[in-house]
Symmetry: C2
Amino acid sequence: MTTDVDGDTTELSRPARRQAEIAAYVVKHGSVSANDLVEAFGVSVMTVHRDLDELERQGVVRKYRGGVSAQPTSVFESNVAYRLNTAHAEKAAIARHARTMIEPGMSVMLDDSTSALALVDLFEDITPLTVATNFLPAITKLAQLRDITLLALGGIYSATHDSFGGMPCAEAVEALHTDLLFCSVSAVSATHAFHQEEEIVLVKRAMLRSARTKVLLVDHAKLQRTALHRLAPLTDFDVVIVDEKTPKTLIDPLRDHGATVEVAKI
Amino acid sequence: MTTDVDGDTTELSRPARRQAEIAAYVVKHGSVSANDLVEAFGVSVMTVHRDLDELERQGVVRKYRGGVSAQPTSVFESNVAYRLNTAHAEKAAIARHARTMIEPGMSVMLDDSTSALALVDLFEDITPLTVATNFLPAITKLAQLRDITLLALGGIYSATHDSFGGMPCAEAVEALHTDLLFCSVSAVSATHAFHQEEEIVLVKRAMLRSARTKVLLVDHAKLQRTALHRLAPLTDFDVVIVDEKTPKTLIDPLRDHGATVEVAKI
DNA sequence: CGTTCTTACCGTCTTCTGGTGTTATGTTAT
DNA sequence: ATAACATAACACCAGAAGACGGTAAGAACG
């Protein structure tokens, strides 16, 4: 199988990668047996089962005796799109660009996106800093850093996103007001940002209300997709940052509709 | 140096262990130079500095040119007591005992204590379960488990406790009401539970208000200590669980004052 | 201005955990 | 009852991350 829109194959642990591929395989075939997967991926039955367990834990597939089947696309999409997500260099570039907007002493809010995670790696040098996020990997990283006030946004854990959400999270967000918000979405049209899942939209909307300056991080893959729920018009964001690989033909429409778009150089 | 009240030396990575010992050393001597520590522990200057940096990050010592000094005891106590904390077998026994109080489907709240952490390891078999906690290691573990609804209690991260606290956390707690609460404290007298730090007390009090059945987990070391802030009378707890090593002479007074004490068998 | 202490960087070593297969045991369907 | 499938329990291997020291550059103190 060739999957992959553009190059950049690695940057994901082998099992994680295989799991994402298995997920794609399952969705493609609707439902498959463990043995099918053994042949297709050249690993042992045991490993297949372990992978499937993990995918089930994340809510991507459903196991039953004799095989697995795919879950409703919404869940799958946002997960696998996210896991197979590469574009590492672009993400890093976007993060570096975003970083220039941050001054020591500021308060920053991050959502549960890999783009935001790339940004976290740059925080060490912008201290002191207050960071609020509901994204577990980000929380774990930030907890290690000195001179960073970490404000964890709690809530109901979602294995699919590895983050916290739901009403408790929205409430936690509403109790805050930060200088900056960096967030991402699953899809971007000429006029609006979209997201697959309603509960996530809830939290992101709350975040948008709780920050002075709002920044949308968009890698070029997002611009060609669509998603179910309309999150907000792009004009709600003070800045939209895209990566260099984004074709001009996709950027121009955004600007025509009033968005402030900045291009991050690699 | 001999430290160590009772056997059980390991169960802590080498650097972590040395750091705890260094912390103890610093407290004992009030303030020491890096070179002193080099001799005392037989490691390089570099390593000493790294250890001290870590301890400073946790708020246990204060670095200045020429050496380090201990922080106010309150901070130290709750940290090092915690890190040097062994009594592994006892903790496990207490956890196993506590476990019998939990039925599938219940909602459980945990505070930031190693006792609670031991309990987490037993949750895998009591599913489904809803667990709320502000303790980062517990959150990380629970996020891996299936059939557990994890409710993270967010707030301001404290490196000393590796948990979240402050007003945001207290508010998150107040929005809940669980069937059970398992918590621990730094010290227990015949009549009351105590804790070193005020902010922590704030959260624990909120937790006590937000649970139907309240359980206090006490390993025998706690019964001989004292601490600054009075958290609550022991009669506020429905059950107090102590380990087998606790001398009868310490248990009886608790019972005389009306507490329900149960002894966990190893 | 020099001494002392601290940090930054690099290379090496070790430790450890994650990933995997194999075999054995358990479970469900036919 | 038996075959197919799933889980559990070891044991192995490798890659990665951590721990550590040394040296050199930097900063603070006298």
